[in-house]
């Protein structure tokens, strides 16, 4: 399914915070994981992930660290900072409230 660009732009930060909130991940792993969990419905342009990661790292929401993964190759793993954790919780609550509101407006057949 093709999503409107504004939906994806608005949700990218929430997706990153949710994924990294579970365990530290590197960029490509986040893409794979979001595709898998969305049943291949959420296919973002991969390059757009990295500016978002850098923005969030500079904002103090994420902390990046280079280390070797299971494959033995060095990857930049991102983890949540305390500020990022608070932001993740806030975003999750907002999304749940918006989703509930939209279901109410659009009806259950669309939700």
């Amino acid at each position: 399914m093709n999503f409107d660009r504004e939906f994806l732009t608005g949700s990218l930060g929430t997706v990153i915070l949710a994924l990294v909130g579970e365990r530290p991940m590197y960029g490509y792993e986040m893409l794979q994981e979001s595709q898998r969990r969305s049943g291949n419905r959420l296919l973002m342009k991969e390059g757009t992930l990295y500016p978002a990661l850098h923005q969030m790292e500079r904002a103090g929401l994420l902390a990046g660290e280079w280390r070797r993964g299971e494959s033995g190759r060095a990857r930049k793993y991102y983890r949540l900072t305390p500020k990022g954790r608070r932001q993740a919780q806030s975003k999750r609550r907002q999304w749940q409230a918006i989703a509930a509101a939209m279901r109410g407006i659009l009806g259950d057949q669309h939700g």
Binding site: Y26, Y28, E46, G47, P51, G64, A74, K76
Partner: protein, 251 residues
């Protein structure tokens, strides 16, 4: 499409993203390289990567504040250095020996020469800033405000409105001389035009015009003019060495 395409893509992204910090650029390159490495199939990964221009624009947005800060610093350092060189040149030109005390001293015209050279330098830096391509109106307006601020400060501290008007007239005169097609005569003509203008300014005062000193003052102003691109090139190289910036990218 192969790994060379990926390498070329990474080079373009890192170069064009206007990230002023060497470490952040190296980090981005390494991270993107590890992305393609993890993806395996370079051809498929390039297809899925998305629009290069869009990514570059997004990265520019992330690092915009830093980029502006570095370039404002470059402009400030360049402007201050050019002003210092211009004033040092006027010190040299106006240094005299002798008189009643038989010591080294500055001529009575030093203050005016220094202000004229200073305002001339600020005017020229502003003019060159606006001539830069690609022209960015937001950046140019900011730069103009900064330079006007510097000029106003110099004006408040050292000069009167008449001196500024005089300096701007000299800049216009010099710019006219530089429109000549024959490059070889541009500088001699500029020095001569400045000397004539200085002579005309002081002409009504009896005994005020000394041909040798007028020519020397004129050469001092022309030297200040000439020194600006040299100083800015030096500052450009200094910043390029400190931040490993791509040269000639700043406004």
């Amino acid at each position: 499409m192969d790994e060379r395409d990926v390498e070329a893509l990474l080079t373009r992204i890192v170069r064009e993203s206007r990230i002023p910090w060497r470490r952040a650029r190296a980090d981005l390159r390494r991270e993107l390289a590890s992305h393609f490495e993890a993806a395996g199939d370079a051809r498929a990964a390039l297809r899925a990567f998305g629009d290069e221009a869009e990514l570059i624009e997004e990265l520019r947005r992330v690092y915009r504040r830093d980029w502006i800060a570095v370039n404002v610093a470059k402009l400030l350092v360049g402007s201050c250095a050019a002003l210092a060189v211009a004033i040092a040149l006027q010190l040299l030109v106006n240094l005299r020996f002798g008189g009643t005390t038989s010591t080294w001293h500055l001529s009575a015209g030093f203050r005016m020469s220094a202000v004229t050279a200073g305002v001339m330098v600020l005017c020229l830096i502003t003019a060159w800033g606006f001539a830069q391509r690609p022209f960015e109106s937001a950046w140019a307006s900011g730069a103009l405000a900064l330079r006007l601020g510097l000029a106003a400060l110099a004006l408040l501290l050292y000069a009167s409105g008449g001196m500024v008007l005089w300096s701007v007239s000299l800049v216009a005169l010099g710019a006219l001389c530089h429109r000549l097609r024959w490059r070889q005569v541009r500088w001699p003509l500029t020095v001569l035009a400045f000397a004539l203008a200085i002579g005309a300014l002081h002409g009504p005062q009896p005994g005020a015009v000394d041909f040798r000193q007028t020519l020397l003052a004129s050469a001092g102003l022309a030297a200040a003019w000439l020194s600006i691109p040299v100083v800015f090139r030096g500052v450009e190289l200094l910043f390029a060495a400190c931040f490993d910036l791509p040269q000639g990218e700043s406004p």
